[in-house]
């Protein structure tokens, strides 16, 4: 009998690296170590995924529903059609209602910046003369708090909205629904970051008394000749100009200004007012964010309650919790503690000063812009000390957890491939990749304002509880 001819071993090591090393010590064997981790999955998630894979019928229904969802979002046509004070247009809004960002939260549990913004809003409304009186009124229970998201609204950062604040009116022409957002106040010490000093309130008053009437007249002129301003087109164009339309809105703001400028001239405004407004808008690169956000909101409200869909239609943070809502599980919030963004801080501030992730602006990522369109905006990665290639990587990762691509938001450097659209909670759990988010960072104490900007991933836990509920509902 000849020498035993061994079949060639091709070894893969899944788990403890020591096994790999002990094989290398023995002989020259073809061995690889597999990069394994549970990727955030609990045993129950494994069990439910297995249950789902066995149920081909359910998988088919989910696939069909998810296609419907992204088709609807993608074919939405958000137009800016008006501007009005909140109490006049926002559903169920009165003098004693205050809306806030993220999933619902009681005043006592709110984070510093949100509390600050609430107190500021009460002073702005003239309900309280100072923060002490404002706090007393809040604690008396006189004020009704609710999520912006429950009122066709979205609010950046603290997202605090009170009755007299002017709001943009966005209409989704495809589905005839509306969404609203306040006007962007600019950077630094502003209400949305929890600042409530006299200047903050004074600035809000200027917006209500000077800016709002002018913009109202402008939009009126525009809507006389057309449906309004086509926001989707501006966003699509800005994406090709280096914006991702969440944390970078430089191009979009300029495009918007270009849209309204002829009408402002037509109004024959007082020269000082005219200059103040132009300076205000052009010095605030985030002016467009508050128009883009309601455009996203009216493109996603329409997919609430598509049975069998596992795509999320909301991501929002209140500074304490991060919440998502799933199309097939309408109106239910799945929450987990907000994370801390990694990013750049203005000089004099550090990470420990920052408040956990805050705001409704993550509606951007839900429709495939913001961090999902990072490949369009390489300049953004400087927030996290990255290089331009990282921007591509972020976007490529998001394709792995999305159902499809946006028809109109295209990425030039990916040969005009659409941005990743429709985050599927199932894919998030399968891949262990959670949605990435670009965000501003507020100081954790009320009254100070923005101290930086950065990036972070949505917490996995809310996707786990949402998936458990999803399987409970549909299997």
């Amino acid at each position: 009998m000849k020498q035993c001819s061994s079949t060639k071993l091709k070894v893969a090591n899944l788990g403890v690296r020591w096994f790999y090393e002990s094989i290398l010590k023995q002989k020259n064997i073809d061995v690889v170590h597999i990069n394994w981790s549970p990727k955030g999955k609990t045993k129950n998630v494994y069990r439910l995924l297995d249950k789902l894979y066995k149920n081909k019928n359910l998988q088919k229904k989910i696939d069909v529903a998810n296609k419907v969802v992204i088709d609807k979002i993608s074919s939405s046509a958000p137009f800016l059609v008006g501007i009005e004070q909140a109490y006049k247009v926002v559903p169920e809004m009165n003098k004693f209602t205050i809306l806030h960002a993220g999933p619902p939260i009681e005043y006592e549990k709110m984070c510093g910046p949100m509390k600050g913004a609430v107190l500021g809003a009460l002073m702005y409304e003239g309900i309280a003369k100072d923060k002490f009186e404002a706090e007393k009124i809040v604690l008396s229970g006189k004020i009704k708090f609710d999520s912006c998201h429950h009122h066709n609204m979205v609010g950046p950062m603290a997202g605090v909205v009170s009755a007299s604040m002017p709001v943009w009116i966005l209409k989704n022409l495809t589905f005839n629904n509306y969404a609203y957002t306040t006007l962007n106040e600019g950077l630094g010490k502003v209400l949305r970051f929890g600042a409530y000093s006299k200047e903050v309130i004074k600035h809000l008053k200027w917006m209500e008394e000077i800016l709002f009437p002018v913009l109202k007249k402008v939009i009126k002129l525009i809507t006389k000749k057309s449906y309004g301003i086509d926001i989707k087109t501006i966003t699509a164009q800005a994406l090709t100009m280096g914006d991702e339309c969440h944390n970078r809105n430089v191009a979009a703001t300029n495009l918007f200004l270009k849209e309204i400028l002829p009408y402002m001239i037509e109004l024959n405004l007082n020269k000082k007012i005219f200059l103040d407004i132009i300076k205000f808008i052009s010095s605030n690169p985030h002016f467009y964010l508050n128009i883009s956000m309601p455009a996203c909101k009216c493109s996603t409200d329409i997919v609430e309650g598509i049975r069998f869909s596992s795509v999320i239609y909301t991501m929002a943070r209140n500074g304490v919790n991060f919440g998502i809502r799933v199309s097939g599980l309408p109106k239910k919030w799945f929450v987990a503690p907000s994370g801390m963004p990694k990013g750049l801080y203005f000089s004099g501030y550090k990470e420990s000063d920052g408040n956990p992730d805050l705001g409704d602006s993550t509606i951007s990522e839900v429709v495939g812009i913001g961090a999902f369109a990072m490949a369009c905006a390489p300049a953004i990665v400087k927030f996290v000390g990255g290089v331009a290639d990282d921007a591509k990587k972020y976007t490529l990762d998001m394709y792995k957890i999305c159902i499809g691509e946006h028809k109109n938001f295209l990425i030039p450097q990916f040969n005009f491939r659409g941005t990743p659209l429709g985050v599927d909670i199932i894919k998030v759990l399968e891949t262990g990749i959670s949605p990435i988010i670009n965000t501003g960072i507020a100081h954790k104490e009320p009254g100070i304002g923005q101290i930086g900007a950065g990036i972070l991933s949505a917490p996995m836990e809310c996707f786990i509880t949402a998936f458990e509920e999803f399987m409970n509902e549909y299997s």
Binding site: K10, A12, L14, H33, N35, W36
Partner: protein, 517 residues
């Protein structure tokens, strides 16, 4: 107790144990590090080490348990440096995200709660590409424990359909095509380049150290192993039904390089044994030697031998190859020296401190013949179970590899802490006459066992005024990194009697105790 959470990371358990020992030394208090899996959290909860912070940890978070206040950042830095330095040393580490397509052997050592679905996925997605191993398109060696028996059965059944062999879960040892997996020894196999032997002995084993003891014995007697297949500890249970045993028998029966086969298991189900023996007598022509602990002696049929001990099994298998084979080194030292010496004292009990479960059980079986009742944490008879495994009673044999000692700790073959503590405790007991223990050598075991245990042995001998007899069974070969002869010499120097067969040691000890009355 304080818990620190390091979010969004994943470290394997062995690396965490290494880091824990570094941190424990650094802070001179016990530090425990575990990933926040459900199983780990419930373990920490049981041990009252989980705080409200730890409760919030997810599978992606590392929980670090301290009983004092420490600087979080410093701890994280230590973890970072340690995990980095260990990866830098091994620059040849080839890391992939997915299992390459032509893989034919997969080692699985991920936390037990994830094993079922991960392995199931591997089985479902597997498309045969490469050459077969052990007669199967793919072999999966599952080291992880904490997998339920229902899951084990389902995995083994679905693997069967795709011509995949599953070794495990809870499989500690195997030698496949000459390659040692898990805790394993450097032995002579038919795959060695300079091996002139044409055929070897095949082993199928449900016990890890049992397998190591058998294969090192064969090696030390000068014979060769063809394949040593681990099946996982529960393969011969009624639920699993010996799926891996049968598959392995089918392969080794056909394998031209295997002359005869040893089957070894801890207490199996009688029903499954019947199924296996019926299969062998009906379908096989080679000789099979069965050493199934706790099984009553069966009448030998056709091509099946029943052996009571591992040594008997090894001798019978070798005799198939060389009918003239006899063991030469029976006990050479007379027992009377120690009987006389011990008679002058009140000392009359044995205490066994084993790292290998099979060795522990075998010892208990042999001792029973001489002295009757033997207490243990894994007794062969239920009424001899120690009420408190941490406290010995009369004649006691402890398996330190038992779950209660090892959960969240390295195996006692690596970490001698419990064994050292227990040895010192036993040596202070005025009724203890003999202390026996095992030293398992080979890959995975402690690299310097003597250095680890020397002072403890010295102290224990001193504690007993040199009245206690110390005996050790060494499981290993001269090719193991620790080197059998070297270990033997050093133990003798310390005053420990050494044995290369567990049965011989147990018989020797049994005789002394019997004579002591």
């Amino acid at each position: 107790m304080k818990n620190i959470i390091k979010p969004n990371c994943f470290y394997d358990s062995i690396l965490l144990m290494q880091i824990a020992s570094v941190l424990s030394k650094q802070y001179s208090s016990e530090v425990t590090l575990m990933m926040g899996t459900d199983a780990n959290k419930s373990l920490l909860r049981e041990r009252k080490m989980l705080t409200s912070d730890g409760e919030k940890a997810s599978v992606n978070d590392l929980i670090i348990c301290f009983d004092k206040n420490v600087d979080e950042k410093k701890v994280f830095d230590t973890i970072e440096t340690f995990s980095k330095s260990s990866s830098n040393q091994k620059q040849d580490l080839i890391v992939e995200d997915k299992i390459p397509q032509n893989t034919n052997l997969i080692l699985v050592s991920i936390p037990g709660e994830f094993v079922f679905y991960e392995v199931k996925k591997i089985i479902e997605e597997f498309v045969s590409q490469g050459e077969s191993v052990l007669g199967h398109k793919l072999c999966i060696f599952i080291f992880s424990d904490n997998v339920s028996i229902e899951e084990e059965k389902e995995l083994k059944l679905s693997a069967l359909k795709k011509n995949i062999l599953i070794m495990g879960p809870d499989c500690g040892t195997a030698v496949v095509n000459g390659l040692g997996l898990g805790f394993s020894n450097n032995i002579r196999t038919i795959f060695d380049n300079n091996n002139i032997s044409k055929q070897g002995i095949g082993i199928i084993s449900a016990g890890g150290t049992g397998l190591q003891a058998i294969m090192t014995m064969i090696h030390n007697f000068g014979y060769t192993i063809s394949q040593a297949i681990g099946t996982g500890s529960r393969d011969l249970s009624e639920e699993v039904g010996g799926i891996t045993f049968l598959e392995s028998i089918k392969y080794l029966e056909k394998d031209p390089y295997t002359k005869t086969i040893i089957l070894f298991s801890k207490p199996p189900s009688e029903k499954v044994v019947k199924k296996i023996t019926e299969y062998i007598s009906k379908n096989c022509r080679k000789m099979y030697v069965l050493n199934l602990l706790g099984l009553n002696k069966k009448q030998e049929v056709k091509n099946i031998f029943f052996a009571q001990t591992m040594q008997e099994a090894v001798v019978k298998a070798i005799k198939v190859i060389n009918p003239k084979f006899e063991i030469r080194n029976k006990i050479t030292v007379s027992t009377s020296f120690w009987v006389n010496k011990l008679k002058k004292t009140n000392r009359k009990y044995v205490r066994g401190l084993f790292s290998g479960g099979s060795l522990c059980e075998e010892t208990a079986i042999v001792l029973k013949k001489y002295i009757g009742d033997v207490y243990s944490n894994i007794p062969i008879e239920k009424n001899h179970k120690l009420p408190n495994p941490w406290k010995s009673f009369k004649n006691t044999i402890i398996d330190l590899g038992d779950d209660i000692f090892t959960r969240g700790k390295p195996h006692p073959m690596i970490d001698f802490t419990f064994r050292k503590e227990r040895m010192i405790e036993e040596s202070k007991d005025k009724e203890v006459a003999i202390i026996i223990f095992d030293l398992v050598l080979g890959w995975g075991s402690n690299i310097e066992p003597i250095k680890e245990i020397r002072d403890t042995i010295k102290l224990s001998i001193k504690n007993s005024n040199s009245q206690i007899l110390f005996c050790a069974i060494i499981v290993g070969t001269e090719k193991d990194v620790q080197n059998y002869a070297n270990i033997e010499r050093q133990l003798k120097k310390l005053g420990v009697m050494t044995f290369n067969s567990n049965v011989t040691m147990s018989e020797f000890v049994g005789k002394i105790l019997q004579d002591l009355g």
